[in-house]
Every structure is written in structure tokens, then in C-alpha cells.
Symmetry: C2
Subunit: 463 residues, 2 copies
């Protein structure tokens, strides 16, 4: 929970300030809201505790965030983010470190190398392109904001629309295959030429890269990042901001390369935009590159699981003093979905051993069996429902995925034994076996009470 | 987030239904609110998914909950709970299991045996006392609700007020040491006699128990729970509900004893009340029994860290059908505070090795050193602030609790060596050493770059 002032105008969707959050009026604190990300609260916390925190301050955080939006498939009103940020340094070494850590993190949780790529761009480069095209006037930053929005969104979609599609959006607009019309930025021909030049440099470089990859030219692959940076350099050379952005990208790429993070893991991609209004320099996103099957059975790329960038002005609103900062936010739910899609989160198929209840007056004996099994490291539980119907007890064991049921009636108790029912084998026999096999492999057998752990261990070990 | 209907009237404070939660009106869903505990949402989830869940259904959950109350010391508007519940069984074996698990859990997180006790009572017993005293009419449960509230709150405070104090609250009321007046229930003498009889049985039994404990009569100690239950049995024998409650307590105590959980860990305490309106049978609370020092430096018992009980009517409001359930809720923040008070959460005193930056053009060399150290399992980080002022770098290392700083200037780089500054020894020397000692134990020494890991390991291992 944060005060609305603390969240301020840095809302998820810059086009709708003050929308998209859950907010209400509190008796004491005025308007309060649920945090919509972990970055705005970090800025508030840093401002509040800056005298006690080390400088620079590196921190990670994980927790739920809330967006007041229509829920949809894969789109929740509450979801989890995991963030890592460095506050208090303007050095792009911090940006490079964040990107390398992001790559390490994805591998650590089970995304294999080759299945992800961290893409990096720089807002200063994009601003440089806008400046050169004459749709960004540093002296009047609000001017042409509408046009810039259309242009940036178009560049962001380069992957999907291609250079031709982007060009259409720079001019009159574009009608997609379904007949939907997207309004264009209506730039002049000279303006379109600048932005198109930038876009063509990107597509041209990416074409070269695809060729290198196809023929496995590993020496060339190592040179991708410098090559891409060089390809866009000329477009922005008339803009001081653009030149600065290119220099920063070059430093970041150099630092990553020096630590052995090649462009197969961390790649400069000048088409990355990122939506949030507060980014001021390098921007990053991590994309998972493998294909999954969507709800309709069609193959598609998994897409983005993390995004971030440098936000040098966010802390200033609390302290008045500029505090540079950079960081990344991982969408935990999306990452889990990806791991699930790759079969990396196998639900533990085997449930607990179920100790059934034949005689409800001897509940403590049954609990003692469960305790004995647990103490031997075997998950176990006593059936706690109404024990009258034994079929319900076996149904419960089935629903819990239990490998084994323990049974002890009056007769067994008197003889100091238990019945051990092998539910895995039982299910197999019920499915496939002939009468012959059944005879040799009984799915239920008797053992002395003090041999319980050993007998169960043997059965479970087998699976 | 839940709809207000799902949270319903089962709000934390039954005296103020619909107060105490953060709620607002949503465009689509009507009134929604932040959950105030994990139990009401469990009831909703179980009702929603009951066809797919095993029966009985055991579940644990952990997460934040919210209360719209004035924050105070140790009293937050957002805090964490960790719950465990069993839904779908009326068997008190489930209650006993929850209590035993609670004891195990406290020990597992670091509360030693003897430092906690799980207290159990039964609402049916308390209702039995009220019935016998003539302030609970099963045919008209709302009647005398005000008086019962006063009586139950008085019993709940038996520990603090003593039998005399409770008796005063049953009659005209009571003025405490500070002069504050608490209104009494104004019961008749006959009614007071019933409730006082119950309270006296408890204090008498507890007196006996303290004697046993004092003289270390371990055989007697084992009999505490049966003894306490017996002592209150006569008071409620005229109430069917009371008799049922006593029988349930006896079963629970028997199951716990059979598993070896003696009254030193799980004790029957007929003065336990628990505030929540929805409990219908056994109620539990876990208390930490060691002393801590409060804000004003006075010693006091740490007190309750967990509470729960049986709530057989909570699911019914969704399904119409009674679904018995029982569970426990641990106050995670309070438990952490307790572990901190016991010194069980020692912050890792040692910070990361800090690689300082002497030459900002060789940032990738410094990052390579950090990477090398990390790959050897040593926490390390490069200083990312402005490297101009070397004093700031050492201040940073100090604030991070770093044991070692790595230094490599132009000269060292040319010779393939690094300077290793032992910050722990350095601090000691600065504090205490004479010039003689300083000579023999240099706090800074040189080593070849490829001996970095070994040298640092040696220094860190020493601490």
C-alpha cells in the first residue's frame, strides 16, 4: 500500500495517468493505493532511508503487485514481480551488471542458454532519432508527444510489422489483415526518411546476423553487438543525446563481452522501446525464444518475461535531488508458465502414503504409523474423513496420488501386522495384467508393524 | 482480494461487522476488499473447487493480510499469516493433528521446547458453562449476547486478573490500578456461582500443576491434561453441549499424549476463549513463554504467536451444506520478532568482498575479479559509485560489512598483482593495536591476480 502521491504520475500506462490502480480514500492518509509495481515503492523507500543505506544501494524484492484492469488469459489483477535494482550510480556498469545477472537468473531457474535473449536499447538513442527527425525539441519536450507515441509504438513492433509496416505507420497509417485501421503519425517525407533509415539499419543488421547464424560463423557472431551499434550510429550523429546513447550501448556491450556474455545471451536491439514513461537511458527486456502452443493450438514465441531500464528521475520527486537508478523486473507468473511449458516444473507425481482407518477407536495407533513413516522421511497422512466407507478412503488415496495405503483392522492389530497395499501396482494390474501376473505380484501383502518403514521404502524406491 | 460478500460477516471483530477491512467499490464486481485473514478465502476457495479437491482437504498457505485499523507498535495494517487447515472432517483427530503440527512447526523454525506451549480449549465447554449459568438459551442464541461477551472476555483474562478480578467482572464491574472502570455483566449471585466455580476449578488445577512442576513430579505432570479436564467436568455436566466439549478435549489430549506430545507442549487450558465469532468447537493458541524486554525496558512474556480452532459453519454460507473444518493461523511477523528476540535470526554479519575501482576505464577487469570470486562461492561486488573519491569506496565497504577490499591501480595492473585490504584486521588495528603489532600483521598485502581467490578465502575463513 502506498499513498497515491508516492505512486504519483509514474503509472503503468502513461497515456492514462491515475488510471489502472486500485485506490481508495483512507480516513487518515488521504488516498492510498495498492502498488502497481515494485519500482515506485523502491524510489519512496530509498528517499526515506537514504541516510542509512549504502551508496550505491543494490536491492532485490519479490511480491504481489496489482493492476486495476480487465483480467484476461494470462492477465491478472494481482501478479508477482521479482525486481533487482541499483540506486545511486549513473555508471552504465550497473546496467550491464543488471543484464548479466538477469541472464544468470534465467539460467539458474531452468531456462537454458539459447532459450532466452536479453535485448538492450537506449532511450537516448531513440530520443536522438526523434530529435534528428524533428519530432523532439529538447526545449519543449511536450511538443509532438502524440506523434512520438505513434512512432515509438511502431518501432516497438518492428519484429512483427517489418520495415514496410513501420513505414506505413510513420505516414498515413496502416490497415492490418483483419481490416483494423491504425492511425499513422503523418510525418513529412523528410521525417519519414530519418526514422526509416534507423529502422532499415536495424533490419539490415539483423539480416546479416541471421546469415552469420545460419552458416555458423562464430567469429562474426561475436561481432554482432558492435556491428549493430555501428549500423545505427550515423542516424543519430547530429544529436548529442543520440551520440551519448550510442556510446553507452557500446560500453554496456563491451562490459558484457568482457565477462563472456555474448550476443547469443545479451544482444543490442535498437527496436526495443519499453512502455513506461520513467525510463531515461538504457532499457532492457528478456525474451524467451522457444515456441509454445497457444490456447488455440497454434505455435507462437513465448515472448517477454522481464523488462527494465534506467530511471534517473524517479527518486528526485521525493528528495528534489536527482538520484540515478537502474533495474529489472521479472514477471514471476509468466516465468513459471514458461517453466511449466518447458516441463521444468513437474508437479511431484507421488502423493503421501495414506494410513487408512479401520477402527476409529484406534486413531492414535494410525497416527503413530504416520509419525513413524514421517520420521523416516516418508510423506504420510492418516485418513481423517468418516472411516465407515472404506471405498472412500481408497478414493481419497487415489486423489492424493498415493503410492501406498496402510491397512490395519482388528485382526491385524491382534497379530501385530499391517496390510500394505501397493496402489501403483494395483492400478497397473487393474489396467493391463493377466490373471497369471496377478498371482505372482500381489498388490497387497502383510508385514510386521516394525517392518513398516522398510516395506514402504522398498515400494516407493521402486517407482 | 475478495468480494465483500465472500468475506461476509465473519470479520475479525464480531462487535464491528463490516469494519476493519480495506474495501472499495469496483466497476464490475461491486464491493471488493483486501482479505483480513486466510481462513475466509479458504472457505470460498473450498466451496468453489470442492468437486476437484480430495476430501478431507488439507492445505497450507502463507501471505499478507490487511486490517484497516490504527497502526501501532507491533500492530500493522499489513502483516503476514501462515495457515494450515483441514476441511471436510468433523473428527477431532484433525484438531489434534493441527496442534501437534503447530508444536513441530515452532520447534522447526527455532523456538525451543519449553519456550512455547499450545493451549487448547473448546467453545462447546464455554457454551456449556453459559448454558448452565442461564445466560445461553440454545433456542434463542442472540439473547444475553452482551452479557456473554463480558463473561468470555473476563475468562480470557483469567491469567492477568486472577479469579477475584474475573468475579468482579461477572458482577458490578472492576476498576483497575490506573483507575479505568470496566463494566461488569451484572449476573445474579447464582449465575456468578456457576461461572466462578468453573474459573476456580481452572485456577485450582493450575495451582496443583505449578506445584508438580516445582517439585519436578514427572509422573504427575503427565497427568495434567486429564486432571484439568476432570476438574471442569462437573460444572458443565448439565449441558449436553458442555459434555460433548469435555469429551472432545479428552480425545484430543489422548491423541496428543499417545504421540508423545505431553502437557509441557500441548496443554488443555479451559480459560482460552479466542475472539473470532466463527469458531464452533476446539480452539487453540500458541504462546511463547519466555520473557522479553518491552519498549520501556520492562520484562514481559512474549505472548501469543498463533491461534485457531474449528469453524464448522464457515463453508456453509457458500454451499448451503455444512462442511466441518479446523485450522491454525501463525502470525509470521510476531514469530519473526520472537526469533529475533531470542537471537535466532542473526543477520549474516559478513558482507560481500568489495572490488574497488581505481581506473574507471578498466571496469571490465574489476567485474572479472568479482565474477572470479563469485564463481568460487565468495560474495563479491564491484563498487559502482563515482570512483573519484577512494575514501567513499572504503566507506561503502564499511557500510556493507565487507571483510575485504580488492584494490588494483595502474601500477598493480602492469605487474599482474592486486592489493588485498583486510578490513576486519584493519578495524581491529585502528582500535587497539600498538605500533609493534601493526608491523607484524599488515592489514594490506599484495598477491598475484591468479592467487586472488586463495588469498581471500584464507582471510574470510579466519573470521
Amino acid at each position: 500500500m502506498e499513498t497515491v502521491e508516492a505512486l504519483g504520475k509514474f503509472l503503468p500506462d502513461v497515456d492514462r495517468p491515475n488510471a489502472g490502480v486500485f485506490a481508495w480514500e483512507d480516513d487518515d492518509d488521504g488516498w492510498v493505493a495498492l502498488r502497481y509495481d515494485l519500482t515506485a515503492p523502491l524510489a519512496r523507500v530509498y528517499a526515506q532511508h537514504r541516510n542509512d543505506l549504502p551508496l550505491p544501494y543494490r536491492r532485490y524484492a519479490m511480491g504481489p503487485v496489482w493492476r486495476n484492469e480487465k483480467p484476461g488469459p494470462g492477465r491478472f489483477r494481482q501478479f508477482y514481480q521479482c525486481d533487482a535494482d541499483t540506486v545511486g550510480t549513473a555508471s552504465v556498469a550497473a546496467d550491464a551488471e543488471i543484464c548479466m545477472m538477469l541472464a544468470d537468473t534465467l539460467e539458474a531457474v531452468g531456462i537454458e542458454r539459447g532459450d532466452y535473449v536479453v535485448r538492450i536499447n537506449n532511450r537516448k538513442v531513440l530520443n536522438g532519432v526523434m530529435e534528428v527527425a524533428g519530432i523532439l525539441d529538447p526545449a519543449d519536450p511536450e511538443k509532438f508527444a502524440h506523434e512520438r507515441g505513434i512512432v515509438l509504438r511502431a518501432i516497438d513492433k518492428l519484429d512483427r510489422l517489418g520495415a514496410e509496416g513501420v513505414r506505413a505507420l510513420l505516414g498515413e497509417g496502416r490497415t492490418d489483415d483483419s481490416g483494423d485501421r491504425t492511425e499513422g503519425a503523418k510525418l513529412t517525407d523528410a521525417q519519414i526518411a530519418v526514422v526509416s533509415g534507423y529502422v532499415d539499419s536495424i533490419t539490415w543488421a539483423q539480416q546479416q546476423i541471421r546469415n552469420d547464424a545460419r552458416i555458423g560463423n562464430s567469429e562474426a557472431i561475436e561481432q554482432w553487438n558492435p556491428y549493430i551499434i555501428k549500423s545505427i550510429e550515423r542516424t543519430v550523429e547530429a544529436s548529442a543525446q543520440g551520440v551519448e546513447g550510442v556510446a553507452e550501448l557500446r560500453q554496456i556491450a563491451g562490459l558484457c563481452a568482457a565477462q563472456g556474455y555474448g550476443p547469443d545471451r545479451i544482444v543490442i536491439d535498437p527496436s526495443v522501446v519499453r512502455g513506461l514513461g520513467y525510463y531515461t537511458g538504457p532499457v532492457f527486456e528478456a525474451e524467451l525464444t522457444f515456441e509454445i502452443t497457444d490456447e488455440k493450438g497454434r505455435p507462437r514465441q513465448f515472448g517477454s518475461v522481464a523488462g527494465g531500464g534506467r530511471y534517473d528521475d524517479l527518486v528526485k520527486r521525493f528528495t528534489g535531488q536527482a538520484v540515478p537508478a537502474t533495474g529489472i523486473s521479472i514477471g514471476v507468473d509468466r516465468l513459471l508458465a514458461a517453466l511449466q511449458a518447458k516441463g521444468r516444473i513437474a508437479a511431484d507425481g507421488q502423493g503421501p502414503v495414506v494410513v487408512t482407518v479401520m477402527d476409529r477407536d484406534r486413531m492414535s495407533d494410525y497416527q503413530a504409523m504416520a509419525t513413524t513413516l514421517r520420521q523416516a522421511g516418508i510423506r504420510a497422512e492418516v485418513y481423517l474423513g468418516n472411516p465407515k466407507n472404506f471405498g472412500n478412503q481408497l478414493k481419497y488415496a487415489d486423489k492424493r496420488g498415493s503410492p501406498v495405503a496402510i491397512i490395519q483392522g482388528e485382526d491385524e492389530a491382534a497379530r501385530g501386522v499391517v496390510q500394505i497395499k501397493d496402489l501403483v501396482l494395483g492400478a497397473k494390474i487393474a489396467e493391463t495384467a493377466t490373471l497369471e501376473e496377478w498371482k505372482d505380484q500381489p498388490a497387497q501383502f502383510e508385514c510386521p508393524v516394525d517392518g513398516l518403514v522398510e516395506a514402504v521404502q522398498k515400494l516407493i524406491g521402486r517407482a
